[in-house]
């Protein structure tokens, strides 16, 4: 089942290669099918998912490269299935957002998009390091082209920057993982993430484990992106077409956060404990710095991009704190952000399609011009700044409550960041929504846009009011990880 969810989009992509270029309707239909089927399958899995069990579910295990102890091992637990659900949800929405927006080389675009889905779904389900790494890197290829071909004016620069940052990060991560792998005698060696973690948890804290921990963490931090490795993100977002920005913010960043709770921290909690302060500092700096940076931007999309960096700071803070509440809040942040920020990028896209500008100075008075679109914008902005009743609030609240137990009043730094986040959102709304009308008549929201807005908004409200189901799914994993990070 998991393999089907992962490889179905790839199969559709291959089939799509055979469709003539001119059959755009068929291609678009195939793209929808290729992304909706995994979503349906994931919903089936969710219904069969045994909540409250910490075990890996829906496992699939085959021998792949026996001489090195590499397996084709798939499976999900609470960490994985939430991300898988997020990924399979966002892809059909991104496909929908591409209709009418991507006009040239439609076939190539959707082929790459489908390959991308195989990569992301694979990352969240792979339980063997090599398999994980393969999916992790496969994500790079389509993303490079999607930004580099369909992006804005500086697309090549942005695409290469994105590619190189991630690639160098991943190679370092690979070296770290190999070093851990070779710590054990030949018979025990394995790349199975679960088995390997059991072994590595017993290693002493020394130069090698510290190196391995930071090598892994660096690879993931680039993707998250954590300060100071975040500089590729604003460039990539600004140049990427809207649907790709949605996926980049919604899913690709979550690969990094997921990898931390799946690999670096469970494998080397003994090192993580020693360096938790550093991760917390990086998180808090990220929140405050990105919030200030967002405030200074003149480009709508850059504001949203920097707000992503800030929100990922909360995840890092929660991870560093290690208490169950903080971990739950931090991971919930990634889910909430995975729903809110794609919507936010979509909002930017909606304005851009109408006004052909993203410059905040040229926008204004939008409440009067396009009231429905502007309602969406206001809703999203409030969700993003953490308004109570919406998903973002729950996440940040839990993160701060949980972090206080570990870091005490130092979390005031993050609190300061929240104030700045709220401030720049309010400034943003003033600039875009209020003021004098700058455009006479623009078309208001379309049914397609409502179709994209509705499911995301519904989930944002639902999780804001009633987050319990998500927490229930995550709970067993959180307990285990928290015990590892606090114990000893």
């Amino acid at each position: 089942m998991l393999s089907l969810i992962v490889f179905f989009p790839l199969a559709v992509a291959v089939a799509m290669l055979l469709v003539p270029r001119t059959q755009e309707k068929l291609i678009k239909g195939l793209a929808l099918v290729g992304t909706l089927v995994p979503l349906a399958l994931t919903l089936v899995l969710l219904s069969r998912f045994e909540v409250g069990s910490g075990a890996i579910q829906f496992q699939e295990k085959f021998v792949w490269i026996p001489s090195l102890g590499i397996q084709y091992h798939m499976g999900v637990d609470g960490w994985g299935i939430t991300m898988l659900a997020l990924s399979t949800l966002l892809f059909p929405l991104a496909v929908l957002a591409s209709f009418g927006y991507i006009e040239h080389r439609v076939k190539d675009y959707f082929v790459l998009l489908l390959i991308l889905e195989t990569g992301t779904n694979g990352v969240f389900t792979a339980l063997d390091f090599v398999l994980f790494y393969v999916f992790w890197e496969i994500v790079l290829l389509p993303m490079y082209f999607l930004i580099g071909i369909w992006g804005g004016p500086r697309r090549e620069y942005a695409a290469i920057k994105f590619f190189l940052y991630t690639l160098i990060g991943s190679v370092i991560m690979l070296v770290g993982a190999l070093a851990l792998y070779l710590q054990f005698p030949a018979g025990q060696r394995t790349f199975d993430l679960i088995e390997l973690a059991k072994l590595t948890q017993g290693l002493p804290v020394n130069a090698l484990t510290t190196f391995a921990f930071f090598a892994l963490l660096l690879g993931f931090a680039v993707k998250v992106p954590a300060f100071p490795f975040h500089t590729w993100l604003p460039d990539a977002h600004v140049e990427a077409p809207t649907p790709i920005s949605m996926l980049l913010a919604g899913i690709l960043l979550k690969m990094g956060t997921y990898a931390m709770v799946r690999i670096s921290h469970p494998m080397l909690p003994q090192v993580a404990r020693q360096w938790a302060w550093l991760i917390a500092v990086v998180g808090i700096i990220g929140i405050v710095y990105a919030a200030f940076a967002a405030m200074a931007q003149k480009d709508f999309k850059k504001v949203v991009a920097y707000s992503s960096v800030a929100h990922m700071g909360f995840f890092l803070l929660g991870l560093a704190a290690g208490t169950p509440e903080a971990l739950a809040g931090g991971y919930f942040e990634t889910i909430a952000h995975g729903l809110i920020s794609p919507l936010f990028f979509f909002v930017v896209g909606m304005y851009y399609e109408r006004t052909h500008t993203r410059e905040l100075e040229k926008l204004g008075g939008m409440f009067l011009t396009v009231p429905a679109v502007s309602f969406v914008m206001a809703f999203t902005a409030f969700a993003n700044l953490g308004l109570p009743g919406l998903a973002g609030f729950i996440a940040e609240f839990f993160t701060l409550v949980g972090s206080y137990q570990t870091w005490g009043l130092w979390i005031l730094g993050a609190g300061l960041g929240m104030v700045i986040i709220a401030a720049f959102h309010l400034i943003l709304m003033r600039q875009v929504l209020m003021g004098e009308k700058k455009y006479e008549s623009l078309p208001d929201i379309t049914p397609k846009e409502i179709t994209i807005f509705a499911p995301l908004a519904a989930l944002i409200v639902l999780f804001g009011v009633y987050p319990a189901p998500v927490f229930k799914v995550l709970d067993p994993g959180i307990k285990v990880l928290s015990a590892l990070l606090l114990g000893g």
Partner: protein, 500 residues
Amino acid sequence: MPNFAENLPVLAPLLALAVGALGVLVLDLVLPARRGYGWWFAVALAGVALAALYTLPLLGGNRTAFGGALVADRFGLFFWLVILAAAGASLLLSLSRSEEDASGYLALLLWAAMGMAVLAAAGNLMVVFLGLEILSLALYVLVAFAPGNRIAWEAALKYFLLGAVAAGFLLFGFALIYGAVGGVGFDQIADYARGTAELPRIYKLGVGLSLTGFAFKLALVPFHVWAPDAYEGAPTPVTAFMSVGTKAAAFAAMARFLVAAVPPQAQTAYLLPLGVLAALSMLVGALAAIRQENLKRILAYSGISHAGYLIMALPGLTEEGLGAGLFYLAGYLCMNMALFAGMVYLRQVGEDGESVASYTGLLYRRPALAGALALALFALAGLPPTVGFTGKFLLALAAIRGEAWLLLGALILATGVSAYVYLRVVAAMARQPEKVRRSAAAEVAAAAAPAAGEGAAALGLPDGLIRGAAGAVLVLAVAGMLLLGVLPGRVLAALTGLLG
């Protein structure tokens, strides 16, 4: 006296190559060029195929011939297969040649392949030198095989002069080792290196000088300066052949030499200088490629980097490590052949195919070809699901096992930089062609078309055949790249128990 018949099975593949080369030359004498032209290629290809056929049954066991002078163990035989595959592919790519000198060209190519095979299976120092000289002399001439092309002559002369100096180093090193050991066989050297408590200085000097000679053939920094010129000047199929074949043969011989000559207790000290050269090669190769505008030169610098990556297989001198090196070379064969086949194909359809600028918009003109080339470039950068990743993965594993942190650091940096280099080409392919450029490309094509037509009228093979052969090489290379990348299990299993 060794019994010739006993040694024949091991010798047969080499003989097949040599006889194939002679056959081409004889055909040239017997038949007029116009009628025999196609047959030359057929005979040359048959020679390579026959050599491969003779090699396969040998894989069952580890044999030696001529009292250990030739070692046909699995390590050497796998290298033979890599070399023969490279030779076959470059023969197929050479179909586009339309000059009357093609018979000599083909013969030299086969002899070069034979030299490489001898080198890869050498069991003593003399045979190493013999193989090296056979392959080098053939290649010096082959590099110059572009009539009227001064760049090619210059490249060949540079290659020859530097190569001669390197051969001197190698020979002097061998002489010193002989002086210390009193024999040239690798087994004698191994016994000596393990049995002597305090190795004399002339021995160490000899090993050092020999390594210098090998480093030259592998194009390790600072002995790399010949490579970019030779790669650029040589006919494309020759470049393809020497980029893989020379590297494979030299690596095999050097690995054997090191396994024998390095005393286990002093491994780190012996291998450190080589590690420094390798790290430098990775970085210099990657950095120097940034500014190159010619794809062949980019591949030359990438070859320098890859020689550096290969050295990662050596720390510890374990069997797993050597297996990783071998696996990487097989992968490197696929990646390089794909790219050179693409170049030949583009040249055949009237495009330039050498300057990076000429690749602009290729993804729009020829999506399938551009896709395959992009995949090969990503493989060179080391991305899954291609063999570039699997190979680098194994090499990194070997290097970590041997605790070669310097090499790993260089690997990380070089991967980043060289990814940028390859991405430049990919980015050019994906760039929307401007209207002006398209017309310029069309002009080039128009200018090239009559020239190609003329050639075909005089000598040469049908256009469709040439394109088909280049396409076939490309498809096979891409298939190999993906297959070795996704399902390396069987091959890796076969790589255990290499050195008999």
